[in-house]
């Protein structure tokens, strides 16, 4: 069994873009809830923070649109001129998938194609209900893709998709935590106050961890617990700890099938060893922001090493 370098690269990027699309869909959904459904509407601040998570606030302001739910959601989902919108992520994912169709199962491809078709001929996001329906539709298809990838032959193709997903997931979770923790909380608002609680709930909703949180922590919603859950808890699939470990596992599967190790393997193992010794209390004490920033940098370096090791070109 062998794999073209170009195919491996496309599969990896496909994994990253699908994961990103899914993440933005979750972020939009959680922010809509925060803005509209929570006990005290958060308004502009909620949408501004959603843009910061995706590092697109500047682009949005340049577009001249007002920071309303309708305009922001449109920017994050439908805007074809914005590279970070769901539709662009899905379009990139689909382009990569088209280029490697032979390496994907039919189910995996149709899930991507169906996700992309959700946005065909769609010009507006509509009201809150329509927005929630739209992101739900995206999540349904990305879940379908996830399932299809897990049903694919356990060959190198599958591992590259999952590798891209794991790297992207680590990045997304780190950004989400960073922004929510440091930027979002308006000045003068009491930590642990009503808005603060809503913000933390939003984070948990974005990563589908509301129920998981309740299972693991019995003492109500506390920011230290949320950080513990999303940074170190390996049983939580979207935590940094789990993503770091998953990357090691996937690279291990690839090494077994190709019969060789490289730079990326070493880097990933070192990162995992360090993560295993990390305590969330220490991170909070020494500065969550610095920790997350260096995590994001390191993740980007690992991304580069993967490209070199597998000759992505």
């Amino acid at each position: 069994m062998m794999l073209l370098s170009r195919t491996a690269s496309s599969l990896y990027w496909l994994g990253r873009y699908i994961e990103r699309a899914d993440f933005i869909a979750r972020l939009v959904e959680a922010t809509v809830r925060l803005d509209v459904l929570s006990s005290r509407p958060a308004g502009e601040a909620a949408w501004s923070s959603a843009l910061t998570v995706t590092e697109t606030e500047e682009d949005f302001l340049k577009s001249g649109a007002a920071m309303t739910q309708n305009q922001t959601v449109k920017f994050l989902t439908l805007d074809t001129s914005h590279p970070g919108s769901i539709v662009r992520c899905l379009s990139m994912a689909r382009d990569n998938a088209r280029a490697v169709r032979t390496a994907l199962s039919r189910d995996a491809w149709t899930a991507i194609n169906r996700a992309w078709l959700i946005f065909e001929n769609r010009s507006g996001v509509g009201g809150t209900a329509a927005t929630l329906n739209m992101v739900e539709a995206v999540k349904t298809e990305t879940r379908g893709f996830e399932g299809a990838v897990h049903r694919m032959l356990r060959n190198q193709a599958t591992w590259f998709v999952r590798l891209g997903q794991a790297i992207e997931r680590a990045d997304n979770t780190a950004r989400l935590l960073d922004v929510k923790y440091h930027i979002l909380l308006p000045e003068g608002e009491r930590v642990g106050g009503v808005l603060d609680r809503d913000q933390w709930t939003t984070i948990l909703q974005t990563v589908s961890a509301v129920t998981a949180y309740r299972w693991l922590y019995s003492d109500g919603l506390r920011s230290a617990n949320v950080i513990d859950l999303l940074v170190t808890r390996k049983e939580m699939p979207r935590s940094l700890g789990a993503s770091v470990e998953e990357v090691v596992d996937i690279l291990g599967h690839l090494a077994k099938q190709t019969g060789s190790h490289g730079e990326a393997d070493r880097m990933a193992r070192m990162r995992a060893a360090r993560a295993g010794r990390t305590r969330s209390t220490e991170i909070i004490a020494s500065g969550l922001h610095q920790y997350l920033q260096s995590f994001i940098d390191e993740n980007a370096q690992l991304h580069g090493a993967i490209g070199r090791q597998f000759r992505f070109g």
Partner: protein, 507 residues
């Protein structure tokens, strides 16, 4: 087409019910299935095609214009005896095409014997002097041929065009059948239809059979595509996928020491057989177009060294050129020693003064085509053309007669087709696929039926509003309505009951 009724392949010459006796079962099905139900199934099929991304890009339109080719739910059917005669003709024609290519790029006996004018071949833009003298592995050059046919009566088939370069459309043969099995399972109980799903296996066998000597027992085969922006990309990926081989782009291949290698995550891996879906012009920038970014520098040198097989062989275009086409009856006779079993459509070569005069005198009755045109562009259909169009072609013909051929308008056969007004006859053509390996020539029992969806139209090209149909080849001459003992068909029968009863309830 005037008042005269064209032959309808299901209804016969009357053009209306009852159906031809041997196809009574299909006629009954058409009568009993309400139009609404047919339309529902047709939409379901098209929906599936859209989800699978079986689309083609319409050049010059925006990204959103990835379209599916319309699919028609009513199949076209060949009886076994009709098909057997047709296959014999196809095998003979493709054997002649292979012999012709070997000769033209070798000894050129056919030119020495004066059967063909030498300038027509050697001065032809499709002739590749760069290839002359290179013997393809196992002496096979036209491995995959799509022979375009039209029909005017039960046994009257005419070859309209040979496609010996990279004929496309075979994925529609396979996907249309999948759709029909799913949506009209009851038809497969009534009719014993030959399976087409062995095509990818046969194609892979063909590829392996022409692997260069020394490739080992399991030669490395690949499909070479121009990339996923190409309008036929779906088919390229579909074929590679169904054969379980790599789909590569030019940039994935590299030639070193006259051998072809592909770049993988483990390093370079040797390639033995390439089914290319890239035109000659773009195949190797060192030999053909130097600006091609799609090809593989050095590929032709590796081919000349006998280290790689290329399907179809470079230079095959000379065999399907429209000017050469008019000589096919002579070519078939020259190489096989027998009269062509499949006739050409009568063709006037406008380069010949007498023919040109006839064509100019009879333009309103003729179809005029560019020798090097395709896709239905650059074509005059006399009987439906305005006088302005006719005069435009008259001037073009007088200016450059050698660029044109002309043919009489045939009373093309029709097949019942679902239209806005219900089921009504529409003109069709047919492209069967013929495979040539080192072990002989094979025809898969099926093909691509294209249908002109506009009433009275004779233009079936997808770029001009044509659609496709499934093409059934029966394993008998119909009438006998025996159930197949085949397990798979019975399982389909199980599915039929629920659908069938829903249909029956309304009928």
């Amino acid at each position: 087409m005037g008042k005269r009724h064209a032959f309808d392949e299901i209804m016969g010459f009357s053009g209306a019910a009852p159906a031809r006796p041997s196809l009574a079962a299909l006629g009954d099905w058409l009568k009993e299935t309400p139009d609404g139900e047919l339309r529902r199934r047709q939409e379901a099929a098209e929906n599936t095609f859209r989800q699978l991304g079986i689309t083609f890009a319409v050049y010059g339109e925006s990204e959103a214009s990835e379209r599916i080719i319309p699919f028609d739910i009513v199949p076209r059917v060949f009886l076994k005896s009709e098909w057997d005669r047709l296959s014999e003709g196809l095998v003979q024609r493709v054997e002649a095409i292979n012999a012709f290519l070997e000769d033209i790029y070798g000894e050129r006996r056919i030119l020495a014997d004066g059967v063909l004018p030498a300038d027509l071949v050697l001065g032809n833009s499709q002739f590749r002097p760069e290839i002359a003298g290179i013997k393809p592995p196992h002496g096979v050059a036209a491995h995959i041929c799509g022979i375009d046919l039209v029909r005017t009566g039960p046994d009257e088939f005419f070859v309209l065009e040979d496609n010996a370069r990279t004929p496309s459309g075979v994925s529609y043969m396979l996907e249309n059948r999948e759709a029909m099995l799913r949506l009209c399972p009851e038809l497969f109980r009534e009719l014993r239809v030959a399976a087409v799903d062995s095509y990818p296996d046969l194609l892979l066998e063909t590829m392996k059979s022409v692997a260069p000597h020394g490739s080992g027992s399991n030669p490395q085969c690949v499909v070479l595509t121009p990339g996923h922006y190409n309008s036929a990309y779906y088919e390229h990926s579909f074929l590679a996928d169904s054969m379980g081989i790599e789909l590569v782009e030019g940039a994935d291949l590299v030639v070193d020491d006259d051998r072809v290698w592909m770049r993988t995550i483990d390093g370079l891996v040797k390639v033995d057989v390439i089914y290319r879906r890239i035109d000659d012009d773009y195949l190797d920038p060192l030999v053909f177009r130097p600006d091609s970014a799609l090809g593989v520098p050095g590929l032709i040198a590796a081919y000349a060294a006998g280290n790689v097989a290329i399907l179809n062989a470079p230079g095959d275009g000379i065999a399907d050129d429209k000017a050469i086409y008019s000589y096919m009856p002579e070519i078939v006779k020259y190489y096989t020693g027998a009269e062509a079993k499949l006739p050409n459509v009568e063709t006037y070569r406008c380069r010949e003064p007498q023919a040109l005069k006839y064509v100019l005198d009879n333009l309103p009755e003729l179809v005029v085509k560019l020798v090097d045109g395709s896709g239905g562009y650059g074509m005059l259909v006399g009987p439906t053309a305005s006088s302005g169009e006719i005069e435009k072609f008259r001037a073009a013909l007088i200016a450059e007669p050698e660029r044109y051929i002309a043919q009489p308008t045939l009373a093309l056969s029709t097949v019942p087709t679902l239209s806005d007004q219900g089921v009504s006859p529409r003109h069709v053509d047919f492209r069967p696929f013929v495979l040539s390996g080192s072990d002989g020539v094979r025809v898969v029992p099926g093909g691509l039926t294209r249908v002109a969806l506009k009433e009275g139209s004779l233009v079936v090209n997808s770029s001009q509003g044509g659609g496709t149909k499934d093409s059934f080849v029966l394993m008998d001459d119909g009438a006998s309505q025996t159930q197949s003992a085949d397990g798979q068909t019975q399982a389909m029968g199980g599915m039929t009951q629920s659908q069938g009863s829903a249909t029956g309830g309304r009928a």
